[in-house]
């Protein structure tokens, strides 16, 4: 039951009780008294009936009017609460800086809005500090990584290095490179969160990017015996950053190949869909269990443990893909029927639609 209904019911009950009290008091005042002369008693009775009629004919409409007025007043008083609820429901980590509009009249709700705004501002500050921390941490990690990389390489240049040691250094170098990739990905995403990555906004022929990705995907798929097909490639232009779009498609193609069954299929398609360009990439891999689907875009999400062992990567690829898509004003979805197929669908607004990323 909403506050409005509850208050209105209370209000109606109080009105009804007041009416009853008035009735009882009137009865006390005008009720015919048995010890008065008969003639007076008749007059009293007339007065009594008149008073009752007055109460009925004026009291009930007045009560109804009060009820309607009360309903209206409550509605007026509580509308800002509905607005506040809607606005609070939209708050997430990316729009914490947006403040809710205040009425400025200093009432309780205005106070509530003020407190609410102060709370989101504090939250924004906390998020900001976490982002700055991650950014600083990744910068600080780069110097030691550069040194380790350089020193290992210097050692490897020494031709007198024993084979066993060489193997060990190469393995260490691999790990340093993996760490570097993680740090790079983390830096990029943290900067993207803080809105510090500027993307180019120019017309990009998406079909060209798709064909290029198709060519690279065929090569990447060959060692695994995976077959890559381009089932549709319509001539479409979007507005955006060519390099980032290439990175996006290559990343999705790479995933479709890596997480595929041996001798599986990968199908790419680019089609016109309403006011958007729709790129789909389907593979025939083991798929993703439904309970894990909402998590695939999470940072460092790596699926089940068996994937970790056989497929290398930094666990940030799909998070980066999702960022690229949303930075272009598009959407990315993933659907999977385990052991049958997994389809990733990317929709990007068309250049002709006049939208800017």
């Amino acid at each position: 039951m909403t506050i409005r209904t509850r208050l209105s019911l209370w209000y109606a009950t109080i009105m009804f009780i007041s009416l009853l009290v008035m009735g009882v008091l009137t009865y006390e005042q005008f009720a015919p008294e048995p010890d008065r002369p008969a003639k007076k008693q008749a007059a009293d009775k007339e007065d009594f009936q008149e008073a009752l009629a007055n109460i009925l004919w004026c009291g009930i409409p007045a009560a109804l009017l009060a009820l309607a007025g009360g309903w209206f007043l409550m509605r007026r008083a509580l509308t800002p609460v509905a607005a506040l609820t809607a606005a609070a429901g939209q708050v997430n980590e990316s729009n914490l800086r947006r403040q809710l509009p205040r009425s400025g009249n200093g009432d309780e709700l205005d106070r509530l809005t003020e407190v609410f705004n102060a709370m989101t501002a504090r939250l924004d500050g906390s998020f900001q500090r976490v982002r700055e921390f991650t950014l600083h941490a990744s910068h600080e990690l780069k110097t030691p990584l550069t040194i380790m990389h350089g020193e290992l390489e210097t050692e490897l240049r020494d031709e007198k290095l024993a084979a066993a040691q060489r193997e060990q250094r190469v393995s260490q170098l691999d790990e340093v490179q993996r760490l570097s990739k993680i740090v790079d990905g983390l830096t990029l995403l943290t900067k993207a969160d803080a809105g510090q990555v500027q993307l180019v906004a120019e017309p990009v022929r998406l079909d060209e990017v798709v064909r290029e990705t198709f060519a690279d995907a065929q090569i990447l798929a060959e060692p695994r015996g995976v077959k890559v097909e381009l089932t549709a490639c319509e001539e479409l232009t979007v507005r955006g950053d060519r390099h980032r779009l290439r990175q996006l498609l290559l990343n999705l193609a790479d995933n479709a190949i890596k997480y595929n069954a041996p001798r599986g299929d990968v199908k790419l398609a680019l089609r016109h869909a309403g006011d958007a360009a729709e790129f789909t990439i389907a593979n025939t891999g083991a798929g993703i269990p439904p309970e894990l689907l909402p998590k695939v875009f999470d940072r460092f999400f790596r699926g089940d443990a068996s994937h970790n062992a056989e497929v290398d990567g930094c666990g940030l690829g799909l998070s980066i893909a999702q960022w690229i898509v949303s930075a272009h004003g598009g959407s990315i979805r993933i659907a999977s029927a385990p052991a049958i197929s997994t389809i990733v669908t990317v929709r990007l607004p068309l250049e002709a639609a006049g939208k800017t990323p």
């Binding site: 780069k142 210097t154 240049r157 900067k191 390099h243 290559l250």
Partner: protein
């Protein structure tokens, strides 16, 4: 060839110096921007390796000042920030190349070499390594008189490797020159392409020409 390395991190400066000296460069090292400016205006260098984050005057400041003084020494910027925008900013300020940290040493050496011999690059239209030839006009490749079929990408890769014959080519540099990627796309694209190319140009022939330097990159040369 004389190179100035401006890097405040002593260990990094030290292995950069060693690597460049191993390639027969004469190397001067300074750890701050003001010294770098003073040195660069009194000594003619063939190239400058310049870190962006320096105490006092930062790398971009040094670069702008150099260019304002009409000093055209080729500059390779190093940066731990690694932003796409920063690369563009650096090139606009007059840098000749940009390398984000952490980098492979091979990458740095290859870039410094490219920087210092920029003008001296081979202008020949037919590239040759042992009995492998590549015609850069007709895009035809032959080895031992046998025609080799190449896709457009394989051609660009082979052309780049042959133009840098005898020199180590890092993955980042290959990605940049052959794919036009200025950041790591996070796939093993280069390795897979090199493997394919090797099958075409090396599998049926001796000696092998395309060698892997583990952890660093690839090199095209006759002797291993």
């Amino acid at each position: 060839m004389r190179v100035l390395v401006v890097e405040d991190e002593k260990k990094t400066a030290s292995f950069i110096r060693k690597a460049l000296q191993a390639e027969n460069f004469a190397v001067d090292v300074t750890h701050n921007g003001d010294d770098a400016l003073a040195l660069a205006s009194t000594t003619p260098f063939d190239g400058i390796v310049l870190d962006i984050m320096l105490p006092g005057r930062d790398g971009l400041g040094v670069l702008k000042q150099l260019r304002a003084r009409k000093n055209t020494t080729p500059v390779l910027l190093l940066s731990a920030r690694g932003e796409v925008n920063e690369r563009v900013e650096g090139l606009n300020a007059g840098a000749d190349d940009y390398l984000p940290k952490p980098f492979a040493l091979a990458e740095l050496v290859a870039r410094v070499r490219a920087l210092t011999r920029r003008s001296g690059e081979s202008k020949s239209t037919v590239l040759r390594v042992a009995d492998l030839t590549l015609d850069t006009i007709s895009h035809r490749a032959q080895r031992g008189g046998k025609e080799i079929e190449l896709t457009a990408r394989e051609y660009r890769l082979l052309e780049f490797l042959m133009r840098s014959a005898g020199r180590l080519c890092g993955r980042m540099m290959i990605l940049e020159k052959v794919w036009d990627y200025h950041f790591d796309p996070g796939t093993n694209l280069v390795d897979v392409y090199v493997r394919r190319l090797r099958e075409k140009i090396d599998a049926d022939f001796e000696p092998k020409l395309l060698h892997t330097v583990r952890g660093s990159g690839y090199v095209m040369k006759e002797t291993p």
